[in-house]
Point group: C2
Chain length 196, copies 2
């Protein structure tokens, strides 16, 4: 056989990315083979190369797509027009809500950075920096306005993001707490941590 019945790039392409995403998240980039991904899709390994130039690009594209989604979703929030405290609350709730919906993407974005070749790493890292800069801006504005009490804006930014992203290590849908409750708990901790 060669081309299979019902085959179409609009179907196979997304299925390949979905399989790669799930497998990379569960086992790690290096531990997943192209044949495993292909097997999950129900296709031979060679067929993957109609959709990606190589394994590295497959990973890099998944990461770039995730970071683009993140920045695009965040860009819809006009936090500059809000008071620092409201802007910070918005950021905390946005971060938790967005990340909780995409556990696989988040896991890959944080765990597989070292698997990226230098050029891809620089690109993804720049996008991440861009996201962090938004939180840092909010913190600086609040500190200048005297509503936040922080020792170091840069470190507070990293500490808050580390704390928030940690949600993904334990949160499971249908668990003890609803998304709203989780957001409220973390917002309480962040608000107090910045002295507001």
């Amino acid at each position: 056989m060669a081309r299979t019945q019902g085959s179409h790039s609009d179907i196979t392409g997304p299925r390949i990315r979905a399989a790669a995403r799930a497998l990379f998240a569960r086992h790690g980039y290096a531990a997943v083979s192209m044949r495993q991904i292909a097997g999950e899709v129900g296709v031979q390994a060679g067929a993957l190369y109609n959709y990606t130039s190589d394994k590295q690009s497959l990973l890099a594209e998944l990461m770039r797509e995730h970071m683009d989604d993140l920045l695009a979703a965040r860009a819809e929030v006009k936090s500059g027009q809000l008071a620092p405290l409201d802007a910070l609350e918005g950021f905390v709730r946005f971060h938790i809500g967005f990340h909780i919906e995409r556990p696989d993407e988040v896991f890959i974005a944080y765990m597989e950075l070292r698997a990226l070749e230098p050029a891809n790493f620089a690109e993804i890292e720049a996008l991440r920096r861009q996201y962090e800069d938004e939180l840092e801006g909010i913190l600086r504005r609040g500190a200048e306005a005297g509503v936040f009490e922080i020792e170091d804006a840069k470190i507070t930014t990293l500490a808050v993001i580390a704390m928030l992203t940690g949600v993904n290590t334990w949160y499971r849908k249908g668990g003890r707490l609803s998304l709203e409750e989780v957001e409220a708990i973390y917002w309480g901790m962040v608000r107090r941590a910045v002295g507001a």
Copy 2:
């Protein structure tokens, strides 16, 4: 040739563990081959099997050693005799100090859990739970005594640990801040986060 001059298990054994630790931390367990580890030590791959039964055990032993060190070091602190606020400050400073000195071990312990076979995973996870339980105990004691204001002890525990461990993602020796300054900044954030 066979046995090489000056070879001795007291020397080769630690060198193998050190090489594995460094390589696993930098590239990840799955991406590192036994031949790479052997090459770093200056030995053939077969020689590694005088020191470990297989690759998986090499990883598991590194992790267990790290967790044992962590728990042993922590056991020297008698936090139960301290007031909750002092106990919490001690925990925060201990965690940062201990983790900052062992970036490779910490990286492996957090990133390679998924590379562990079920039995090894359960063992390491139990040790980690043990460590987290200590912080949770401090938080519960403080909450009952009315000196902490927290919504959920379990989640606060995980949030604080995620925040503290995040130090390892950016801290570099000889950087802008001293260990003492870093500890002070994080202690400030944690103290406020728990409402004290």
